[in-house]
């Protein structure tokens, strides 16, 4: 398996994602709906 652990700990820093990314996720969540009909789950994105 790929070794994904960093060797240089100095490169580890605290960061946050951009507000745009968060806003996208919130908008995505609001637009996402799941509807179940006859045991089948339908996914829809209503913008």
């Amino acid at each position: 398996m790929e070794n994904i652990y960093v060797n240089n700990k100095k490169e580890c820093k605290l960061i946050k994602v951009k507000p745009e990314t968060i806003q996208f996720l919130l908008d995505y969540s609001k637009s996402l709906h799941f509807v179940e009909k006859d045991g089948i789950v339908f996914q829809s994105n209503l913008n």
Partner: protein, 193 residues
């Protein structure tokens, strides 16, 4: 002391339709998850992408109703992020990203140096105009110029084919170019793209 609603409560609220609960969850764990992803991939843009994909999975799972509160919310999200990081490295291993450096630019090898459609049209037009101008030259000069430029013959080959000395062939080429410039200047022709 500030009262903090537990993750499990926020998750249940979100499942019940409270979108604000998701915003609180994302903002609460933003730094932790982002820094975790960044510590592995060391790239801000990739971090944004993986963070986004992680929460898209979280949102889908919660809205679908397939989330079970077996463990804690954060370890579950971290596990999703961790799996996506592994996917990212697997993908990059299959198709490594090569950015090049100062000594070597990958686009010098794979770049498309063909002209675009507009530039090709202009070039064709210039070539056609130039051929018309060459037709205006005296026969001996035109013959040498065509052999040299269009047939890529050496002056030795030209002299052998035309039966004149190399110096004469050179002189005819020189006059051909001088006369071409004169025709171009006289008629104010622009031959640039």
């Amino acid at each position: 002391m500030e009262f903090q609603v537990e993750d499990s409560v926020l998750v249940n609220n979100f499942i019940s339709g409270d979108e604000k609960a998701l915003e609180i969850l994302i903002n609460r764990h933003n730094q932790r998850i982002s820094s975790f992803i960044y510590s592995k991939v060391l790239d801000r843009d990739v971090t944004e992408d993986i963070f986004q994909d992680t929460f898209i999975k979280v949102i889908k799972t919660l809205k679908k109703g397939t989330y079970s509160e077996e463990g804690k919310f954060l370890p579950w999200v971290m596990r999703i992020a961790h799996n996506l990081i592994i996917d990212h490295f697997r993908r990059n291993k299959r198709m490594p990203m090569f950015e090049g450096n100062e000594d070597f630019n990958i686009f010098s090898v794979i770049g498309d140096d063909k002209l675009n459609a507009e530039k090709q049209l202009i070039k064709d037009q210039i070539d056609t105009d130039l051929r018309l101008l060459i037709d205006e030259l005296p026969d001996d000069q035109r013959e040498v110029l065509l052999m040299r430029i269009y047939k890529d013959m050496s002056f030795k080959e030209i002299s052998e084919n035309t039966g004149v000395s190399i110096n004469t062939a050179l002189g005819r080429m020189r006059y051909a170019l001088i006369n071409l410039r004169k025709i171009i200047d006289k008629n104010n022709i622009v031959l640039t793209s």
